[in-house]
Symmetry: C2
Subunit: 358 residues, 2 copies
């Protein structure tokens, strides 16, 4: 264990430079209003002593932390098996870093942790929060709201239209799940497929629900009523995809296309299709969602999918939050949301990426 020494204070720097603490403080924080020769002396003293401001003391008076919490609420930790979160984190980290903010990661392993997270957020450790992967009945939004921390959600929060209307200040970033799903299904129909199935994601998440809606939109539009047996519920994992695909082959052996709720699910489906002797795309065409390149380019055959720019979503969430924070500071009052406030939802577009699987 490396040693931890007590660091010099403003006071020490001031003494060394022969000025007051106030002057040192000014220099350290941008230094306007301090004449050059003096400022230089202070800078040298800072350098010589290796002075680094004590953040706790600073926060105590400024009430800023330059830190943002990232809350990932994935009970049955799919969290990291899925590159999805990783990519968002990357985007967030980049944006925060660019604005000299720190990232405090709060992983919740289930209900038990919610109180802890709420307490932390209420504790005023961070200036704001970025929250992911909410589920329908998640108590977190309520707790976070009560904690009074400016928050941006990743993905449309799912606590119902009523609550949504009651709290118009909610800000979130999402991709056009429904539109992307429509494009995928339309593509399959354009290919001449008629028995187009859908393996859903975890339906307690809005992304999964929205993709299902998109699928239904197009099926209903083009084919009139669609066969409900063609929809199998799953959970965004490869194993779930396998299970679902098996069930699908069982109930509808004549299926000729599958739209999977994400690439990981498609991966599982592909495996089962191959094992069952079906050729992709000749017998069954497959489309995924997300476009995790390491996955989609290396499946056999390479996966046609709906791309969303996940890293950009992360970056955008962070940007929105920081922007909101600085606006709050400018007007000395937190934003309450409402019509005049920053966009309360940013929906990123999706693109269909054609590869060999459909």
């Amino acid at each position: 264990m490396t040693e931890a020494v007590s660091r010099p204070t403003l006071e020490a720097v001031a003494a060394r430079a022969g000025v007051s603490r106030a002057t040192v403080s000014r220099v350290v924080n941008g230094g306007d209003g301090v004449r050059e020769p003096l400022a230089e002396r202070v800078r040298r003293a800072v350098e010589e002593l290796g002075y680094v401001p004590n953040q706790a003391a600073r926060s105590l008076v400024t009430r800023r932390h330059d830190a943002v919490a990232v809350v990932i609420a994935e009970p049955e930790s799919r969290v990291f098996a899925d590159p999805f979160f990783a990519l968002q984190l990357r985007g967030i980290s980049k944006e925060l870093t660019a604005h000299d903010n720190q990232l405090v990661l709060l992983l919740t392993e289930g209900r038990a942790d919610h109180a802890r997270v709420a307490r932390y957020l209420a504790g005023g450790h961070v200036d704001g929060a970025l929250v992911f992967s909410l589920h329908l009945d998640d108590p977190l939004p309520g707790l976070i709201h009560d904690a009074g921390v400016p928050t941006v959600f990743g993905g449309r929060p799912g606590w119902g239209e009523d609550a949504r209307a009651a709290d118009p200040g909610v800000v979130y970033v999402d991709c056009d799940n429904r539109g992307g799903a429509r494009a995928a299904v339309r593509h399959l129909l354009d290919l001449g497929r008629r028995r187009v199935a859908h393996i859903t994601g975890a339906l307690d998440q809005t992304s999964a629900a929205d993709r299902l809606d998109g699928y239904r939109d197009v099926m209903a539009d083009v084919l009139g009523e669609s066969d409900p047996r063609l929809v199998v519920e799953s959970d965004f994992t490869p194993a779930g995809g396998e299970r679902a695909m098996r069930e699908l082959l069982d109930r509808c052996p004549d299926v000729d296309a599958v739209f999977a709720a994400n690439d990981l699910t498609a991966l599982g489906a592909l495996r089962v299709l191959r094992a069952s002797g079906r050729r992709v795309p000749e017998d069954v065409a497959v489309v995924g969602f997300d476009d995790m390149v390491p996955v989609t380019e290396q499946t056999d055959p390479p996966l046609t999918t709906v791309r969303q720019d996940i890293e950009e979503m992360g970056r955008l969430m962070a940007r929105l939050l920081l922007q909101g924070l600085s606006e709050d500071r400018d007007r000395q009052r937190p934003t309450a949301g409402g019509p005049g406030s920053p966009a309360s939802a940013v929906i990123l577009p999706t693109t269909l990426i054609r590869r060999a699987s459909a």
Copy 2:
């Protein structure tokens, strides 16, 4: 954006409960030395006001933060494509949470970020640091040492025996890379294979170097001098594994076994082997390293590999750090390392997991 309100202070709670700030402080921090009726009154006041202690103020006086930085120094962000980090993070997060510590994640996207990280660590935001994925010429250990933050490294730091000797306080957790590699290669030889190749990891990391050493140990032992063309340098990624395997087939078409530096590499190798028409394990046996179950169980054929308990490593790193911190506090002085100090290296065992690929 949700609103942010100004929270009640100790003072307010004290007023409401009709006691002094000190008493409230005592109750809030465990409450020994306060008689029950009073304590109860305080607790009620806390409850009614929704009081949450201001962490900045507390840290200012206690010099504790109950927060630990996790530094992941992976320049060319393989960071999240590889479940490895994710698993470690999980372990760390669990352990920290159990001890009411927060996790501050510092991702570095290259050299440029090192100064920032160093500044942050020196800024006294966190009580300690957990540092991963160092490379041979990494300046980070030096910077961290200068910052004077208690640190535990993940994986044997690689800055040479000299520096290592100069700083005996270095603590790290690693798995028995060399021993694991030996077991893998011995297994292949036991299978009767004689042209056993090794696809290395990124050799600027000690884990890769140690696995290579293990391979060489056994090859030299059993076969005497081994053919250097059987070793191909790679980088721990699937794409790297593919490249390396192609090169290997090129130079040694008679190869009958491959020990890959990790599972991801093995994945790439398997693909190339299949594409080349070789059967696994009949023509070429393959062994990986790590045992990322989602990968190893779903390759075709399932991958024989050397298991290390990655999550446990993370947990252990955190535990070691927290332990060191509390000891430091007990003796009022940071640990300087040395013989009397806590274990300076914990090496976790590895196990060979036999599946179908070898």
